[in-house]
């Protein structure tokens, strides 16, 4: 990583130590698409957190009298077959998506990161065996693997989270292993070894912190696919077992039966999925650019 050599005397006090992360944040703020992504994510997260306060109606109450109403002042996104307020259900649906998305990525990164760290940190036979397992996982299409896991473990939110996490495991494992392998040959790791640093110390203190940036970017991008995967499982009828749970993918499936009468029931959950996924995608791309030293401007 080459940063311009700034004369020490001039630079020491005036420009306080911002470090790698400070610089990255500054570059991120200047990146318009990333800011847009951040805005979408903020809307999504706030909707999920404040759903009980923002929702004009409870998500599971409605009267059949009000069924399939077009968007109006009372129901800005209309109502569904049971007369439930679509807007309220979208807000509560954000909770399901956020929880499922974030926890599946966390679980995925923990499993995948551990595999990658062991493979890249220990190397040799451990590396070969773990990477072949990962290759096998990668050879199965993601959503198919998730469907298989949910079918095997039965329906339920924890199962969905686990399934989507497993889909992401090989991605995280490969990314972390790759950056660890390149760092193992880096000058400062050799320098630390020459000064007597132990293997675990090299891995935990020198290599892992330096390999986190690609992993963080991958996590952000994985959040987008996780939200889509969760919705996809719901759309395929493998959503939460309680049919009343407001889940975007399930809502999408339910709406297809009334496509002619109530097209908005397709539009709003679809838009919610797209906007939250695009938000994480834009942010992820922006972070990749701002954290990658080669793209520094």
């Amino acid at each position: 990583m080459t940063t311009p050599a700034i004369p020490v005397a001039i630079q020491s006090d005036a420009r306080a130590s911002r470090g790698l992360w400070g610089d990255a944040v500054r570059r991120l703020v200047r990146n318009r698409p990333a800011l847009l992504g951040l805005f979408f994510i903020a809307v999504f997260v706030l909707a999920a957190i404040f759903a009980p306060f923002l929702a004009p109606y409870p998500p599971n109450e409605g009267s059949l009298v009000n069924r399939l109403q077009t968007p109006s002042r009372e129901h800005i996104m209309g109502t569904d077959l049971q007369g439930r307020d679509e807007f309220s259900r979208i807000l509560y649906g954000a909770q399901v998506s956020l929880v499922a998305g974030v926890s599946s990525v966390v679980v995925g990164v923990l499993i995948g990161g551990t595999i990658g760290a062991l493979a890249g940190g220990i190397g040799g036979k451990v590396d070969s065996v773990l990477m072949r397992v990962v290759d096998v996982m990668l050879s199965i299409p993601g959503i198919l693997l998730a469907i298989g896991i949910v079918a095997w473990l039965d329906r339920g939110l924890p199962q969905i989270i686990f399934a989507v996490a497993i889909v992401n495991v090989p991605i995280f494992a490969r990314i972390l292993r790759g950056s660890l392998l390149s760092l193992r040959e880096s000058d400062y790791v050799t320098a630390s070894r020459s000064l007597g640093a132990s293997g675990s110390r090299l891995l935990l203190r020198h290599m892992l912190p330096n390999s986190l940036t690609p992993l963080i970017v991958a996590c952000t991008l994985a959040l987008a696919t996780a939200i889509i995967d969760v919705a996809g499982l719901g759309f395929l009828g493998l959503g939460p077992p309680d049919p009343r749970t407001p889940e975007w993918g399930t809502m999408l499936t339910d709406s297809t039966k009334f496509l002619r009468q109530a097209p908005w029931l397709l539009f709003f959950p679809g838009a919610a999925i797209v906007i939250s996924a695009i938000g994480f995608n834009l942010l992820g791309d922006g972070m990749r650019e701002s954290l990658d030293p080669r793209m520094r401007r």
């Binding site: 700034i6 020490v8 470090g19 880096s186 020459s194 000064l195 007597g196 640093a197 132990s198 912190p209």
Partner: protein, 416 residues
């Protein structure tokens, strides 16, 4: 350790790299010794095995390609090639420290200077963090970093190259090692900073009686820094002498070539620089004869078939390996005479470099005439003398035009 045993004794060290393109014969039986507080220079061009020799000493060869395939490295009575990894780890940093070429990439970018220095100190010494920090400040002061208390909190990217190398030196000195290995410590630095860093390195190792191995491709750097010099070529030590002897009496054709390719302030006006022609040999094949033969102007027929061993200049003298009385040794079948050394080429009338046997690479050109001016012009003149003027136009394709001499060695070697 008895008084007579050297601090470091490397015996017949052989290092090989297994790569997809074949086995690289990186170090081919290197033997040298080092006394406490002595400063040894390892000189040679890129790829001659000088860095690999030292990485092998503390077993930091790139894995899994690099392997020590023979020899012993006795340090302080212990054979480093036989130690377990955890035993070695205790020695690295504490007894043997290393400084690398590029200070820009030798520090961890995500940790502050304090974290890195304290970590190094605490890796070897049980001491509270505050004490380690105080030691770090002391060391930074020692290497001349202003306001060390505040600079400790800085990240590496907030330091200039010279400052970073000072930090590296401070870290290497943290535990008062017995041996310091500096691998081209000033190559990546500005010339003005180079001198400062070298001086610092010399003074600090002097004070602590730390032995120093200085790896460099720059003869100017070793001249003022070291007690002794080993000249390496293609994984062999080809000449070994005290610094005084080596500069007074450079004897291996390669060393002569090195010295003649550096501009000198005291040179006669218009004295031309004499480059060493050709390239270093392909290390994928073990040389059959002298590894320098393809580029040597003094070579004999035997040079193509027999690799000379490192022997004292005056045959039969007992070999002293270390100290100010170290024997001047050289691996050469046909030593340049004193006059040759001055001229940088063989002066014996009628002497011709022995032609290459079939299949061997000849970088100098067979039948290179002795007693004529050198290089391309020399050859043209020689041909002209025999066959009349030659045209330089492309139409003269029938003429055996000699290859363009490669001006590789302008005193400082370039990485290919």
């Amino acid at each position: 350790m008895t008084a007579s045993a050297p601090l470091l004794s490397v015996q017949d060290l052989v290092v090989r790299f297994r790569t997809h393109e074949g086995t690289i014969h990186a170090v081919n039986g290197v033997t040298f010794q080092l006394d406490e507080g002595e400063r040894l220079g390892l000189v040679g061009e890129s790829g001659c095995g000088k860095s690999v020799t030292n990485l092998a000493l503390i077993r930091l060869l790139p894995q899994p390609a690099g392997r020590i395939e023979g020899g012993t490295v006795l340090f302080d009575g212990q054979d480093l090639t036989q130690l377990r990894e955890d035993e070695l780890r205790a020695i690295r940093g504490r007894d043997i420290a290393m400084i690398f070429q590029d200070p820009m990439t030798s520090l961890n970018p995500v940790l502050t200077i304090e974290e890195q220095m304290v970590e190094t100190i605490q890796a070897h010494k049980e001491m509270p963090k505050a004490d380690a920090r105080a030691r770090a400040i002391e060391l930074l002061n020692l290497v001349g970093i202003p306001k060390p208390e505040t600079r400790l909190k800085s990240f590496p990217h907030q330091f200039s190259g010279g400052m970073r190398q000072r930090v590296m030196i401070a870290m290497a000195l943290a535990l008062a090692p017995k041996l310091m290995i500096a691998d081209e410590p000033t190559t990546a630095l500005d010339v003005t900073i180079q001198a400062q860093v070298l001086e610092l390195l010399r003074d600090l190792t002097d004070e602590s009686r730390t032995a120093l191995i200085l790896i460099t491709h720059d003869l100017g750097v070793v001249a003022g820094m070291t007690n002794r010099i080993n000249v390496m070529y293609a994984g062999f030590v080809v000449e070994s002498a005290t610094t005084l002897d080596l500069f007074a009496e450079p004897s291996h054709p390669y060393t002569v070539g090195l010295l003649h390719s550096i501009p000198r302030l005291d040179a006669e006006e218009d004295e031309p620089l004499v480059p060493i022609e050709g390239r270093p040999p392909d290390m994928r094949h073990a040389p059959t004869g002298c590894p320098f033969a393809p580029r040597c102007r003094w070579r004999l027929e035997t040079c193509w078939s027999q690799n000379p061993t490192l022997l004292p200049m005056i045959a039969g003298t007992p070999v002293v390996m270390t100290g100010a009385a170290a024997t001047h040794r050289i691996a050469c079948h046909n030593r340049p005479t004193a006059e040759d050394r001055v001229a940088g080429r063989p002066l014996a009338p009628g002497f011709m470099a022995a032609p290459a046997p079939p299949g061997a690479i000849d970088e100098v050109g067979a039948g290179h005439l002795g007693g004529t001016p050198d290089g391309f012009e020399g050859l043209v003149n020689a041909i002209q003398a025999e066959e009349g003027p030659i045209s330089m136009a492309p139409s003269a394709g029938a003429l055996p035009l000699p290859p363009e001499p490669e001006h590789h060695n302008d005193g400082v070697f370039h990485d290919d």
